[in-house]
């Protein structure tokens, strides 16, 4: 219909990602839940673990931007206006936060003593 709704967004993403859509949603949800679990368990952010997660998170952000350029046959030279730079920043941000969050949770769950 001529409205934006959750069903429409899901439909588009399903067509975009195919069978991987729901596993990716589940993965994102699991990572978020794992992060919250670790956070609640530790009752604070562990600085050493956070630094590792943030450092690798930045790499995740860079990878996200590079992947976007690759799949769209484009590059930095194609950025034409402020909105393009904002989009790159948003992609970088999503990549960074997603990676950092997942890594922090993974380190907290599986390498508790080390990290």
């Amino acid at each position: 219909m001529k409205e934006l709704d959750l069903a429409t967004l899901v439909a588009v993403f399903q067509e975009m990602l195919g069978w991987t859509f729901w596993p990716l949603v589940a993965l994102a949800a699991l990572a978020t839940l794992a992060f919250l679990r670790v956070l609640l368990r530790d009752r604070s952010l562990i600085p050493q673990r956070l630094v590792w997660a943030e450092a690798l998170g930045v790499m995740g952000g860079v990878v996200a931007v590079l992947v976007m350029f690759t799949v769209t046959s484009s590059g930095f030279a194609d950025l034409g206006g402020p909105i393009d730079w904002l989009l790159v920043l948003a992609i970088f941000g999503f990549g960074t936060v997603g990676t950092a969050l997942g890594l922090y949770a993974a380190l907290g769950l599986f390498r508790r003593r080390v990290a």
Binding site: E3, V12, I83, L87
Partner: protein
């Protein structure tokens, strides 16, 4: 992409093929209450299983229960036509635009693999090429259009890809063949000739895009100085929307693409590589090393031979169906709707138009069954991600009145060459199109 939900709602709801890109924003959505299907025993025939036909059938199947919905189309392959340009730009393989019709046919829709041979809107029947005579209560004509290559003297579709001949529209294989011819030209340089027909056509931005893309590849390969590009407009403007035409004129001047006006291709010599144009001053010949032939386009024979076309006016000669431009309902046969390319409306031969036309036509059809009036209106919205080079496009959206109707006002400038507009074309368009086929977008 910082977009407010209100803007997105307007953009994605009404100007839907941009939805994929909007969806990328990951902005919170508004839940939709499911509507109960309307019970009816109506017999509905949908002619055509292209974008408009499939989307219509899907929406009818969702909106009605007990109806007999029959879809007629002989072709088993479905083509994602907005992807042809990407194939012809060497960025996608022909497989990118190919799928089977079967996978998009909604449950509850009876797909008859026969072509419509005769439409009788007085007797309310459709006869197929196999001789079946199918009565209907409502008819949706979504036949698409016919590429009339035969109207160009000397043209031979089987030679696309050879000797500098390109033609993006002919199909996936021909789009790939066009890429080979264009790529070869970009390696050598020479005379590049571009054009569009004088008839109505699907995606009127596509011929312009291809000139831009050829220019881009020549530059990337260091051969721009060895090539001359000429775009032959069929009338006095480059595009039907004045503000867009002016912007393209400026960009063409910047890229050194020469423009001639009132040039309509009427003949081509494929061996000598000479294109002959009809002009107000008589025939004009242009030698070419690469040419992108866009054929005249007309309504399919089954529609032209029926009582459905306009009787007078600019759309009569090519047989476009005479529909109300805001409801897509036939003006003389109220139980007939015509959507997509075949509709005789001023604009709207794009998938983006279909995205808006179909829900309007379907709502009017269902409203008639229910005995109510529908308030839904189609305003001529269409969209053209006008590629200006690989990696950039202008997100041009407009309506019947030549107004720009940007989906993201203040965020994505419609006349600027932007990467985000390219992303929408590359990433967002196809999934949204496919969701549209399923009636889910």
């Amino acid at each position: 992409m910082p977009v407010s939900p209100d803007i997105l709602r307007a953009a994605l709801g009404r100007r839907g093929l941009l939805l994929g890109a909007g969806a990328l924003a990951g902005v919170g959505a508004v839940a939709r209450a499911p509507q109960a299907a309307v019970a009816t025993s109506a017999r509905i025939i949908v002619i055509g299983a292209g974008a408009a036909g499939l989307a219509t059938a899907s929406r009818l199947a969702m909106g009605l229960s007990g109806a007999s919905i029959t879809m007629l189309d002989k072709r088993r392959e479905h083509h994602y036509q907005p992807g042809y340009t990407l194939v012809a730009a060497g960025l996608k393989s022909p497989d990118y635009v190919l799928s089977s019709t079967r996978e998009w046919v909604a449950r509850g829709v009876n797909w008859v693999e026969e072509a419509a041979a005769e439409i009788d809107p007085v007797g309310k029947t459709v006869t197929t090429d196999a001789g079946q005579r199918l009565p209907y209560d409502f008819l949706v004509v979504a036949t698409g259009l016919t590429l009339d290559y035969g109207a160009i003297e000397g043209m031979d579709v089987s030679r696309i890809g050879q000797n500098g001949l390109g033609s993006v529209y002919a199909g996936p294989a021909q789009a790939a063949a066009t890429w080979r011819a264009m790529s070869d030209f970009a390696d050598k340089g020479g005379q590049g000739v571009f054009l569009r027909p004088a008839t109505e056509m699907k995606c009127a931005g596509a011929p312009l895009k291809y000139a831009f893309l050829t220019d881009d590849y020549l530059r990337r390969r260091g051969n721009r100085g060895r090539a001359e590009l000429t775009y032959n407009a069929q009338n006095r403007v480059l595009f039907s929307v004045p503000i867009v035409a002016e912007r393209v004129r400026m960009l063409y001047a910047e890229r050194n693409i020469r423009v001639t006006h009132d040039h309509v291709l009427r003949k081509i010599d494929l061996d000598r590589r000479i294109a002959t144009f009809r002009t107000p001053q008589g025939d004009a010949e242009q030698a070419y090393d690469f040419i992108n032939v866009i054929p005249p386009m007309r309504a399919p024979e089954v529609v032209r031979n029926s009582p459905l076309p306009w009787q007078t006016g600019p759309w009569a000669a090519d047989g476009w169906a005479e529909v109300d431009r805001h409801t897509l309902r036939h003006v003389r046969f109220p139980e007939v709707f015509c959507v997509g390319d075949v509709a005789g409306v001023p604009k709207g031969k794009t998938a983006a138009s279909v995205k808006w036309q179909v829900p309007v036509a379907v709502d009017h059809l269902i409203a008639t069954i229910q005995g109510r009036e529908s308030a839904e209106r189609y305003n001529g919205y269409t969209s053209c991600p006008l590629i200006t080079r690989v990696g950039r496009a202008m997100l041009v959206e407009f309506d019947y009145n030549d107004n720009l109707v940007p989906s993201f006002p203040g965020v994505i400038a419609p006349l600027e060459e932007l990467w985000i507009s390219w992303i929408m074309k590359e990433v967002g368009l196809k999934p949204t199109y496919l969701a549209m086929l399923r009636g889910r977008a």
